[in-house]
Amino acid sequence: MNPEPSGRFPVAIVDDDESVRESLPDLLLEFGFAAQAFASAEEFLASDWVRRSRCLILDVAMPGMSGPDLQRELRRRRQEIPIVFITARGDETVRPRLLKEGAVECLFKPFSEAALLAALDTALRVA
């Protein structure tokens, strides 16, 4: 997979939490990614980022379609985008389940910069 014409890898972010949608794209830009945040799975599916994204940073719990729901939907659409799940719930049992379902990584909020970069690195290598 190639990066964007800008030479930057496109990373989509789907999270109902506004502060994530505000902060994470800026950080990813600093790291040299192209980033776009969506407030819901439905919003993401309606955009062209479904095709463009080289990585999806996806919140687990969201109103309406949840992160895993979106994962299943993308698999159904054969849009296999590497997914890094992020979750604010401290439930450790969710991680192995998500990894088993094919997620690249599952990060618990708040996650460190290093953990995020490591996950993205893995995702890009998968991609």
């Binding site: 939490d17 902060s23 994470l24 790291f31 992020i86 604010a88 401290g90």
Partner: protein, 723 residues
């Protein structure tokens, strides 16, 4: 004599004499006596007669007048002889001297004894008027009332006699035919007999007076005897009725007679009495002897002793309280009678009264309940002892507003003041009043009074109040509230535990923002050239997310805080939103679709915000639990607030879950009743107790479709509690 006769001649005799009667002169022939040949005096016969008379006077004064009449008959050889006496009746003065009566007649007129003639219209009266001996002939011609007195008097010789110069009667001799005529000798003998008659009369009067005295005395004695018999009967009745103890005694200490009532009282019997063992000196316990001595002294001085209370020793040694009064018999100086009343019943009644008063006082002490009365007209205040104790005031101290002010809490209105207010405002009426006392050591007592207005027999208003020290109750209520709040805390922490993940989510979201923004900010500053605008923006977001996190934390802290119940105005909408803010992610996780229907302009309710939020959270989690197995329909949860149509607001949580069986409607609220695998089943029970403490109500209704609705209502404004 002549002068006296002249004086008497003034009496208008004629006026009383019927017209047509013969004049007095026509029936008088007194002068004839000295013209007629006089027989020789027979002194021997005369002396014999006088001796007979004198001895008769000595031997049988009762018949002296009859003897005198017979003597006249004998000496004058006449046909009838007798006496006329003026009536004397001290008791009827109008009768006194109005008539002559004939106490004794001898001879032919003897059957007429007991008869008599008028004082002022008859021969006897004429004799007394003229104050001399008169000789009448056929006086019935002038005095026709004598016509039936037969045989008629041919001649009648009448001689007056006197006592102490006063004419009191006549003696007379009558010839009914011409067999012989009275002469001067008859005149002399009659005068002589007249003197005797005077003596006889005096003796007789004396005797009669004596007789009268005797008979009067006899009558009086009979009356006394009769009275005594009556009295005796009455006294005997009194003695035998045994209503009171009656005892006869002497000053030596003996009891000579006693009725059964007395014997019963002291538990002795008749044999004891008969044997003389029963002595009043022995019946008296040592400490009462001085009372006896005083009574004896009183008896000596006055003959009676006033009733006094004392004790007797019974035969068995026990004591009996008695009232004792008595007197010495008149003229005895040593013997007397006394009545004895058994006071045991009165003593028992008094004891019972004292005991019930003591019970009341004890009851008041135990219940820390005092009583209080205020007579409005006299401003008279009466307190029970317990009330003094509660107020820690000296018993009996006059209760004034000033005194009350030393005890009643400065912020509170005393009961007496409240009574006065109610009396002024409503003229009486019952009420309840709660106030506090602040004791000198600044400790607080909580008082609860129930006041009742009554009117006495004169229609005067009187307040009576039962005043209870409810401090202990208040403290236990507080302790209970604390326990309840601790239980609520346990429940809260339990439900928060359920929400740990949800809460972590709420906290982790902003933390995540903070970390990301901080990283970005550092990178922007480290760039060459540094992106200052970007750094500024990310720093701003960091701060904002920090606030957001701290808000979550403080909301959490508030909800989890273990604090005493507080009453404040609570905006139920805002409280609901706060709870939902903490539980959104939990509800999301459980795929619950939340719909808020919060009323605009909902008036604030009164209550403890945190406790109410605890209830709301419980209801939300319950609803979510109820819908956990629902997959065939939206897991719709509607939270609705609205005015309840009365003086309160209501909040309802409607789910589309499994609902509940009609018979479980109330069991839902029982502690430890649960249909769930997890949880202690105390959520709804605690919720209901919280709502009830808010004077509200929490209930469950089954929905039309699937699911249940839990609703509570709580009142607006400050709950009506008076302090």
């Amino acid at each position: 004599m002549a002068e006296s006769a002249e004086a008497r001649s003034d009496v208008p005799l004629e006026s009383s004499i019927p017209a047509g009667a013969a004049p007095l002169e026509s029936i008088l022939c007194t002068e004839e006596l000295h013209r007629r040949p006089s027989r020789a005096p027979d002194y021997e016969k005369e002396n014999r007669a006088l001796v007979t008379l004198v001895s008769a006077l000595a031997d049988s004064p009762g018949t002296i007048l009859q003897t005198l009449a017979e003597t006249i008959l004998e000496i004058t050889q006449c046909d009838s002889a007798g006496l006329s006496l003026l009536t004397r009746d001290g008791k009827t003065p109008d009768v006194c001297g109005k008539r002559f009566y004939w106490p004794a007649i001898a001879g032919m007129w003897n059957p007429h004894a007991g008869g008599g003639t008028p004082r002022n219209f008859g021969a006897c009266g004429d004799v007394l008027d003229q104050n001399r001996t008169l000789l009448f002939t056929h006086f019935e011609r002038r005095y026709p009332y004598l016509l039936p007195v037969i045989p008629a008097a041919e001649e009648c010789l009448l001689v007056p006699f006197y006592v102490a110069g006063e004419a009191v009667g006549t003696i007379w001799a009558i010839m009914h035919n011409d067999r012989r005529k009275f002469d001067a000798e008859d005149d002399r003998v009659m005068a002589s007999l007249g003197k005797f008659a005077s003596s006889a009369y005096q003796a007789l009067i004396h005797i009669e007076d004596l007789k009268i005295q005797v008979s009067e005395r006899e009558a009086a004695e009979a009356e006394v005897r009769e009275l005594a018999r009556g009295l005796e009967a009455k006294i005997r009745r009194l003695v035998e009725a045994n209503v009171v103890g009656i005892v006869m005694w002497n000053l030596d200490g003996a009891i000579t007679e006693a009725n059964d009532a007395f014997l019963r009282m002291v538990q002795f019997d008749r044999a004891d009495l008969a044997s003389g063992r029963l002595r009043w000196t022995d019946l008296t316990p040592a400490e009462w002897r001085d009372h006896d001595e005083r009574a004896v002294a009183e008896l000596m001085a006055t003959g009676v002793f006033q009733p006094f209370e004392k004790e007797y020793l019974r035969k068995g040694g026990s004591r009996v309280s008695v009232l004792l009064g008595g007197a010495l018999f008149e003229g005895s100086g040593n013997d007397g009678v006394a009545f004895v009343l058994d006071l045991s019943d009165q003593r028992r009644a008094a004891r019972a009264l004292r005991r019930s008063e003591a019970f009341l006082a004890e009851g008041q002490r135990l219940s820390q309940m005092g009583s209080f009365s205020w007579r409005v007209a006299t401003d008279e205040v009466t307190w029970s002892e317990e009330l003094y104790r509660i107020y820690e005031l000296e018993v009996g101290l006059p209760v004034t507003l000033k005194v009350l002010r030393t005890r009643v809490h400065p912020d509170d209105v005393s009961l007496l003041e409240k009574m006065k207010m109610v009396e002024r405002a409503r003229g009486g009426g019952d009420f309840e009043w709660q106030y506090r006392l602040m004791m000198p050591d600044h400790s607080i007592k909580y008082m609860h009074a129930v006041a009742h207005a009554t009117r006495d027999e004169e229609g005067q208003l009187e307040y009576m109040a039962a005043v209870q020290d409810v401090t202990a109750r208040r403290r236990s209520e507080e302790a209970l509230a604390k326990a309840r709040s601790e239980l609520a805390h346990v429940a809260r922490v339990t439900s928060l535990g359920v929400m740990t993940a949800s809460i972590a989510h709420e906290v982790n979201q902003p933390l995540s923002g903070i970390v990301t923004n901080a990283s970005t900010c550092l990178r922007m500053l480290a760039a060459d050239p540094p992106n200052l605008d970007g750094a500024r923006e990310t720093a701003r977001r960091t701060i904002r997310d920090g606030h957001r996190a701290s808000e979550v934390i403080s909301r959490l802290r508030r909800l989890a805080a273990k604090k005493e119940a507080d009453t404040e105005p609570v905006d139920l909408n805002e409280a609901t939103r706060e709870v939902i803010a903490l539980s959104t992610s939990e509800l999301q996780r459980r795929r619950v679709i939340l719909r808020l229907e919060l009323a605009d302009d909902l008036p604030p309710a009164s209550g403890d915000r945190v406790q109410l939020q605890q209830v709301i959270l419980n209801l939300l989690l319950n609803a979510a639990d109820a819908m956990s197995g629902v997959d065939d329909r939206p897991r719709l949860l509607v939270v609705r607030t609205e005015p309840d149509g009365g003086d309160g607001v209501s909040l309802s949580v409607q789910d589309s879950g499994v609902g509940f069986a009609p018979e479980d409607g109330e069991r839902l609220f029982e502690a430890f009743y649960t249909t769930k695998d997890q949880g202690m089943g105390i959520g709804l029970s605690v919720s209901r107790s919280i709502i009830e403490r808010h004077q509200g109500r929490l209930w469950a209704t089954r929905s039309e479709g699937p699911g249940a609705t839990f609703t509570f209502t709580i009142p607006l404004g400050q709950p009506a509690t008076e302090a």
